[in-house]
């Protein structure tokens, strides 16, 4: 059952990613991105990352996508159909580049999981008493506020820089 949902969500994520790239209207692309983000968030939940599921929905689908939609509707760019583009060379190059990258990535993954010495994932699993404890908010918070405290504090600086940058860029001259 879990496998079936996993496959459905994976196919949905890939299909909506195709939609983002090939939709002629930017608003449709944003809607497809929303579908992609929600299906990926549900995949996170299936992989027992509960906190990341909530964070993905709140930050990506809730904040970043709304910002995107706001700018898209504000600027209202004219639609572009990538299949009727006049720049044939650029289009062909983009298609070939993307497909070659995809083949290289998927091929190397399949090679890594079928040929050669295999990493024993089962041995790396934690104690069977709480098999999925690594995804809980408790384990996440423990890691974030002990081992990764400095990077966590530095994200505040990143957000401050982004905030100041947005204000400076948005100011009318």
């Amino acid at each position: 059952m879990e496998q079936v949902i996993l496959v459905i969500l994976g196919v949905l994520a890939v299909a909506s990613a195709v939609g983002v790239v090939f939709m002629p209207n930017a608003v449709y692309s944003a809607m497809m991105l929303l579908l992609n983000l929600v299906s990926l968030a549900t995949l996170f939940l299936l992989l027992h990352a509960q906190f990341m599921f909530a964070a993905q929905l709140l930050i990506y689908a809730g904040a970043i996508l709304v910002l995107f939609l706001f700018v898209v509707t504000l600027l209202n760019p004219e639609g572009e159909n990538v299949f009727k583009d006049s720049k044939q060379l650029q289009k062909a190059g983009a298609f070939t580049g993307g497909i070659i990258l995809g083949i290289i990535l998927v091929g190397s993954l399949i090679y890594a999981f079928t040929g050669g010495p295999q990493f024993d994932f089962a041995a790396a699993q934690p104690s069977p008493a709480q098999p999925y404890a690594y995804g809980s908010v408790e384990a996440f918070g423990m890691g974030l506020f002990t081992q990764f405290l400095l990077p966590f504090e530095l994200t505040a600086l990143v957000l401050l820089v982004a905030l100041i940058g947005a204000v400076v860029l948005g100011k009318r001259r």
């Binding site: 990613a17 983002v20 992609n36 995949l43 904040a63 995107f68 994932f121 790396a124 996440f140 860029l169």
Partner: protein, 100 residues
């Protein structure tokens, strides 16, 4: 096929699609959306490895990626809006130089 193989392949395909979107589209907004696709593909790979290895470090990395993605989206969209104010048209082919 185990679930990590499947999720990693999904992640690789989405990453390649995002690259194709950045190269193919001329609208900077859609290019940004493609960059978000690529970031999300990497997040999926991190979460898959985190689940398979049974540790939470991968999820902490995903939180950092989320923060950087939010910052990048804010600054990038501010640049696009500023460009639109100057030129009334947004197309990456028109932007040859960054003027002050």
């Amino acid at each position: 096929m185990t679930s990590i193989t499947f999720t990693l392949i999904v992640s690789a395909i989405i990453f390649a699609l995002g690259t194709m979107g950045v190269l193919l589209r001329r609208n900077p907004l859609v290019q940004f959306m493609s960059i978000e696709l690529m970031l999300n593909a990497v997040n999926l790979a991190f979460i898959s490895f985190s689940g398979t290895l049974g540790t939470s470090e991968g999820q902490i990395f995903v939180l950092m990626v989320l923060t950087v993605a939010a910052a990048e989206a804010v600054v990038g969209l501010a640049i696009i809006v500023a460009l639109f104010r100057r030129r009334r048209r947004i197309d990456v082919d028109d932007i040859h130089a960054m003027e002050g």
